[in-house]
Subunit: 342 residues, 2 copies
């Protein structure tokens, strides 16, 4: 197995990407292909002991920045690490491609250089959403701000397969995010999608309200990309606010500090639950190849885990499973262009 | 000042409503008019010492249930506590009306029995959103699932006035919830609303992402009712999950329990921040009279606080301020019907 890795992506340039790549070698027995500035990558690689034959470098000369316009960047920077990596995925030189770069550009690049699976109108960012029970899948987390029922149905299929194949949940419970349990709740998009989901062979369990999203009651949370993005980021924001509020209370006085000290070990298990770096990556499902978006602020641990989940996706042949599942779903070929949000 | 109060609303029937009413008397110098079953209310009132002249009862014989269809319930139960209270508000017998009953029915009843402020196309549920800095205002929290830019502009005006008058925030910073900071982000609804908000005299500070909603960076968070409802309930859900996860860690072993015991006092201040009963009520702004929706599961403390905020709204003449603010905003009279969600 060969996994391609954008060594230039993310806020922490080649420093954390290379460290994450070296650490990932312990977790799978394949090869890593790093795309990026050869001088910078080699300088970082020098710091570590690793089996040289398992990491190779494909030198590239350009980098897509976070504030670059997605489509323009893909077209005007043909030698960017991201573009070269995506082309390699298309050609079959690598089995998956992981990047923490500009999300919009990764989506546009995936569409332009790799293409969609036949039968999928819009690819979706599919994230693991940590819950108190373990993990759910949230799809779409922000690739498509404006959606039609057809898109949400595809998201449901792809999310269900991801939960089954990559997280290992049997017969995943699929739910539609909504503002009430009744099937008449929500906007016309959600009312229509609810009816369509009932007719699929998915294990559709109905609507899930915001209050129950973090409970882990359901395994796959289906949302349009606007709502999904707000769910993902708001959860992060609330957790961060609560944890920092907690710290303030602990540090307030001597008794609090003592209590905090005694709780330190127990709280570290708790912090782990809230830690996005445990999952590290969100695949762009619906693309005709496995493209994984890592969090922009990823550290080495997050990259290592993004690579870990990418290799599970390759091993379980996730892309092929999606291809089979959507054969028979009627296609709307004209909806070729996805928005580029996040 | 006379505040009307639906004694039959909410999950905890006349028990907690009457207790909350009696406790509220300490907080303001007006009168309370309770609408509901006279036998039940008198039985509850007997338990307390209070100045009898400050609480009166208007006996009613019907009750709107949580699973009643909103418009049908309002029309078919003319002697329901909620309906009689709303009619009293229309006639000017009371200055505000507080109810924890069926949200959809309260909205439909407010539209049918009290009416909209001229110039407002859709009333909105306007909630206080507790943040680490204090409180922001979230509008719409779920009255209107499907919105047009015009609705969001009105929400922004009403939310800004609520923040100023009732919470006491000078020149409130108004933001549009969105999936990115750039003005080109989001759905067409959000892109167009962003441009329109820039042209108002409001202190519009741009988009706010999910991550920053709980930070208290902005004072008024404007959203369509679908998104706003998910923000409100998801925040509750995440906070509840984290607090219960924390408890599990504290109770895990002896050292944890000891740490938890030492932290108990500090954590109670922290719990208070997350406690919706501190605010207790969300006004339906845009109605031609002050109607306050209390949380369905309100306890006496929540009711007391709902009455407290209602009387601040009356004192600061919030409804009149909204009336003045929207004079001059072009009206779209045809959008008379609001959805009934939540």
């Amino acid at each position: 197995m060969k996994i391609g890795f954008d060594a230039m992506g993310g806020d922490h340039g080649p420093l954390e990407t290379v460290k994450g790549a070296v650490e990932a070698l312990d977790m799978f027995d394949g090869e890593l292909i790093l795309y990026g500035d050869i001088v910078q990558i080699e300088n970082e690689l020098k710091k570590y002991n690793y089996k040289a034959e398992r990491i190779s470098i494909v030198p590239t000369t350009e980098v897509i920045e976070n504030d670059d316009k997605p489509v323009k960047a893909i077209k005007s920077k043909p030698d960017a690490s991201m573009v070269v990596g995506l082309k390699a995925l298309r050609k079959g030189d690598i089995d998956a491609f992981v990047s923490a770069g500009n999300t919009g550009a990764l989506l546009a690049g995936s569409l332009l250089k790799v293409g969609r699976i036949k039968g999928i109108s819009r690819p979706a960012l599919t994230t693991i959403y940590p819950t108190m029970n373990g993990a759910s899948v949230l799809v779409d987390a922000g690739a498509n701000a404006e959606c039609k029922p057809r898109n949400l149905i595809e998201f449901a299929y792809m999310g269900s397969l991801y939960a089954e194949k990559v997280i290992g949940i049997e017969n995943p419970k699929v739910a539609l995010v909504n503002i009430g349990a009744e099937e008449t709740k929500g906007t016309p998009l959600y009312i229509e999608t609810h009816q369509l989901l009932k007719q699929t062979e998915l294990n559709f369990v109905g609507n899930v309200e915001g209050r129950d999203v973090p409970s882990g009651k359901v395994d796959v949370i289906v949302a349009d990309g606007f709502t999904g993005n707000i769910i993902l980021k708001l959860t992060e924001g609330v957790a961060m606010s609560i944890v920092s509020g907690l710290k303030v209370q602990i540090m307030k006085n001597f008794v609090g500090k003592l209590g905090g000290l005694l709780l330190k070990k127990n709280l570290s298990a708790f912090k782990k639950m809230l830690d996005y770096t445990e999952y590290g990556g969100a695949p762009l499902l619906g693309i005709n190849g496995l493209v994984v978006k890592a969090h922009g602020s990823s550290n080495a641990k997050a990259f290592k885990n993004a690579i870990k989940y990418a290799q599970i996706g390759v091993k379980t042949d996730l892309v092929e499973a999606i291809r089979k599942a959507v054969t028979g779903l009627q296609t709307e070929e004209k909806e070729a262009e996805a928005d580029t949000e996040l």
